[in-house]
Structure formats: C-alpha cells, structure tokens
C-alpha cells in the first residue's frame, strides 16, 4: 500500500485511490506510485493511458477533469492536488 507519513489525511486517501487506478490501467504496482513520480518520465505512462486514468479518477471522485487540465498533470502530486482542489 502506498503511504507517505508526511501527507495530510485527505492527500493520503486520494493518493491511495489514484495509485489503485494507475495500477489497474498502467500495470504499475501501487506501491511505486509516489507523490514525486512524474507520469511520463518516471512511470512511463502513455497519453492514452493518461486519458483512461483521468476518466477513472473523474468517476472515482465524482468530479470533472477538463481536457486542458490534463496537459498540466506532470506528476502524481499535480493529480492529487487537482483532485483536492476540485473537491474543495
């Protein structure tokens, strides 16, 4: 399970769910999905998988991720923070 002791409870929860989605779609072990990992450079996730991850993230957290926001999601932290902002 992905844990990061320095994260606040809400970020921890979002990261855990996001890691599950990434494991399902990109077949990267959830434990490897850490806040500082970059989607393309570190996790080798392609653009189509990113769209799938975004779609499942939208469904999981019941929010909208507009296509233009997708281009700004470079790291796992960007995605966690986006979900956090959208939920606020």
């Amino acid at each position: 399970m992905t844990t990061d002791a320095t994260l606040a409870g809400e970020q921890q929860e979002i990261l855990r769910k996001l890691a599950e989605i990434i494991e399902e779609i990109a077949e990267i072990p959830a434990a490897d999905v850490a806040m500082d990992k970059r989607f393309i450079d570190d996790l080798d996730i392609d653009s189509l998988s990113m769209i799938e991850i975004a779609a499942q993230t939208e469904a999981a957290f019941d929010l909208d991720i507009p296509p233009e926001a997708l281009a700004d999601l470079l790291s796992v932290r960007d995605a966690v923070e986006l979900v956090q902002r959208k939920r606020a």
Binding site: E27, L48, E52, A55, E58, A59, D64
Partner: protein, 409 residues
C-alpha cells in the same frame, strides 16, 4: 517448387472446438460440434428467436495478460491469441528483421461488443463513463493493428473486410505482399467475436440462422437435406506465410504451399450468392491457374458451405463448373459453426492439415445428403487421402469470392 513460392510455416487458432489448432483439429476429426445454448440472459433480454451459437471453447481472458483483456475488444483478443500461437510455432522471431514482418488480419464485423457496451454507457451514464479506448477497440483494423503491435511487425499491417470471406482474403493479400517482395514473412488470418444480442437478432432478420434451438450440436449441418441455417460462432485462425527460400534458409518446418490465390465478385445481390455459381467458379479457376495446377489435380475442396438452404447448392454448382465433380468435399462449419471473418483462415488451416496428415475431417452432422449436391462429401468418419492439391473457398455477403489452392509439401 520455386524460391518465390509461398509456404505455410505456422498455425494458430482459438475456436468453439478448442483453444488451439490441435484441440480444434482433433474435435473436427471426431466430428464434434461447437454448437451450444446461447446465454439465456441474452436470449431473454432481446427476445431472440435464435437461442443457439458456437462460443469459444477457451476464454481469451484465461490466456492473455489482464491489461490486454481490458484494452482489447474480444475480437482483438482472439486475434492476438491465435497470432501469437502461429508466430511462436514458426519460430521466426530470431530470424527476421521487424521491418520485413507483415500482418494481414481481416474481420467481418470488428469491435461490435465495444460499440454496444459504450453506446449503453453513453446512454445510461453519460460521457464520463465512456472509455477513451472506444475508438481503437471498435475499429475494424483493430485486430490487425493489435497483432502488429504484439509482434512488432513493421512491413505493413492491413485489414481486409469482406464479410465471411475476410479471413481468406487476408491470406490472399499476405501472398501478394510476399510475391511483391514487400515482406519476408507475414502473419495472416481473420478474427471475429460478435455473439451479441444485436448481431444475433440482425442475422436472424436475414433468415440465415438455424432455428434448431433444442439441438444446438446438430444444428449446423452443411449439405444435409434438413439444414436450416448456420450457427454463429466466434474465434480466430492465423497462419504464418513466407517465401520458400526464406523458410528453407532458416530451416523452418513447412506444412504446405499456398500455391495460388483467386478472387472475384458476383455483382449479383448484396447477400444472396449468384445461383449459377459464376463468380465463385471464376475465383476457383483463378486460384488453380495461379497455382499452375489443373482441375484433375484437385483431390478435395474445403467447402465454405454454411448450412443455409440458399448457399450450399450454388457452391457445388461452382465447384462442378470450375473443377468438376471428382473432388471430395468436406465442410468444417458443421463442427466449427460459422466464424464469419475468421471462417476462411480457420478453414484454410483445416485444409493445410488435411494435406499434411492425408486425412479429411468429416462434415459434422451430415446424415442425409441433399440430393442436389451430387458429389462425394466426407461424413461420419475421417477419410484418408493421398491427394496433393486442395482448394479452400470462402464467400461473403457483398458477393466477395475467394479461393485458395494449397499443395502438399
């Protein structure tokens, strides 16, 4: 045999009779049928008049990685399963430059399961629930593209679409690629997985499906006097083709030679075959001429015979017209059901194995030969043959006719 001849060096299949070529072939020799009751939930939901089909014997999800199962439509899954079997058997990967590997995979319908599932999601739950993979999963070139990706093939990936002749047409284009020097080795065949409510209902509306609902194993009965339509099946059949000199240079096992190919079009009717058999005879003649064999050389014909009332007889007229009444016929659809876009290539494999083993599988369920056939049809038991030449023909809605002439090696 000349160096430019095209030979078969690998076989792969997943069918209603088995998850590979060998289990399928054994079941065909035993005269077993893949016909089964259709999922009762599907029948109930769409109130289908046809309640039988020939589903896969082995689920592709049980042999593919989880990621592939999620990202590939079922027709693409079966294509990859069969192609990988054929490719592994040919043992070519260490002997060929990926830039010289081609893929030709046809389908009759393509990713219809994805299309229907995503249409339901869009209607019921909205855009957000739709998969971003919808387009690559439903496109009819998807099975070819996924096989190309799986094998790393870069010489060209093509997807002929000619309904029930698609799988056979794939072998034609592969042969042409090899003869034109566009590739050194080509994986070719057809794939289909369209056992959906819409497909079943649509074929039922064309009145081409068997209604022998209480006896699915005996429903597909090509050339039988009591035939009443085909049984819709799913699956994939793939072959590896290469030029003889290429196969010899790498010491490949050769099953048979694809000596000639022939195609034509009926220009008669969008679904019904020309009753005179003219277009079909043209394709058969063209494939024999291409193979430099005479009608007298042909020992057996692997018939397309789908078990429909209107289809089976024009085919015998065409065979008699092009070859004569001397070849022995066998019709695999009694056992396999109708694999649509995968039928031609899966039956080409049966033709190749018949020559290779000198054994013709019986036409399953043929009990009372339609008197209009007036030809010798293998039934009941497999029959030995020492013939060196066989023709495999395939026809599709749209009037597409394909004939392949194989020669024993």
């Amino acid at each position: 045999m000349s160096n430019n001849d095209v030979v078969v060096t690998g076989l792969g299949a997943t069918t209603p009779l088995g998850g590979d070529v060998w289990s399928t072939w054994e079941a065909m020799l035993a005269g077993r049928s893949g016909g089964r009751q259709l999922d009762p939930e599907l029948v109930e939901k769409f109130r289908l008049p046809v309640r039988i089909a020939a589903p896969l014997a082995v689920e592709p999800a049980s042999v593919l990685p989880r990621g592939a199962v999620r990202r590939l439509d079922r027709c693409q899954q079966v294509a990859v399963v069969a192609a990988q079997q054929a490719w592994e058997e040919a043992k070519a990967q260490d002997h060929v430059d990926p830039d010289r590997v081609g893929v030709v995979v046809g389908t009759g319908i393509g990713g219809i399961r994805t299309l229907l599932e995503q249409a339901d999601l869009l209607t019921g739950k909205g855009l957000r629930q739709m998969s971003p993979l919808t387009v690559p999963m439903l496109m009819p070139n998807g099975p070819a593209a996924q096989v190309g990706l799986a094998l790393g093939a870069r010489a060209g990936v093509h997807a002929p679409v000619s309904a029930c002749a698609s799988g056979a047409e794939a072998l034609v284009w592969a042969w042409r690629m090899l003869r034109a020097g566009e590739a050194d080795i080509v994986v070719a065949g057809g794939a289909e997985a369209s056992l959906t409510g819409v497909t079943m209902a649509a074929f039922a509306r064309t009145r081409t499906l068997s209604l022998r609902n209480d006896d699915p194993r005996r429903a597909s009965r090509p050339f039988d006097a009591d035939r009443d339509g085909f049984v819709l099946g799913e699956g994939a059949g793939m072959v590896v083709l290469e030029r003889a000199e290429h196969a010899a240079a790498r010491g490949a096992k050769v099953y048979a030679r694809l000596a000639g190919v022939g195609t034509s079009a009926d220009a008669h009717h969008i679904t019904a075959p020309d009753p005179t058999g003219r277009g079909q005879a043209t394709a058969i003649r063209a494939s024999m001429r291409c193979a430099r064999v005479t009608p007298a050389d042909v020992g057996h014909v692997n018939a397309h015979a789908t078990s429909t009332v209107v289809g089976d007889i024009p085919e015998t007229v065409a065979i008699k017209e092009a070859i004569g009444d001397h070849p022995v016929l066998t019709a695999p659809k009694g056992a396999l059901g109708h694999l649509l876009g995968a039928a031609g290539s899966t039956e080409a494999i049966s033709t190749v194995l018949s020559l290779h083993h000198g054994l013709l599988p019986p036409t399953a369920n043929l009990e009372k030969l339609d008197p209009q056939v007036e030809m010798d049809v293998v039934a009941g038991e497999p029959r030995k043959t020492d013939a060196a030449v066989a023709v495999c023909d395939s026809f599709g809605f749209g009037g597409h006719n394909v004939a392949l002439t194989f020669v024993k090696e």
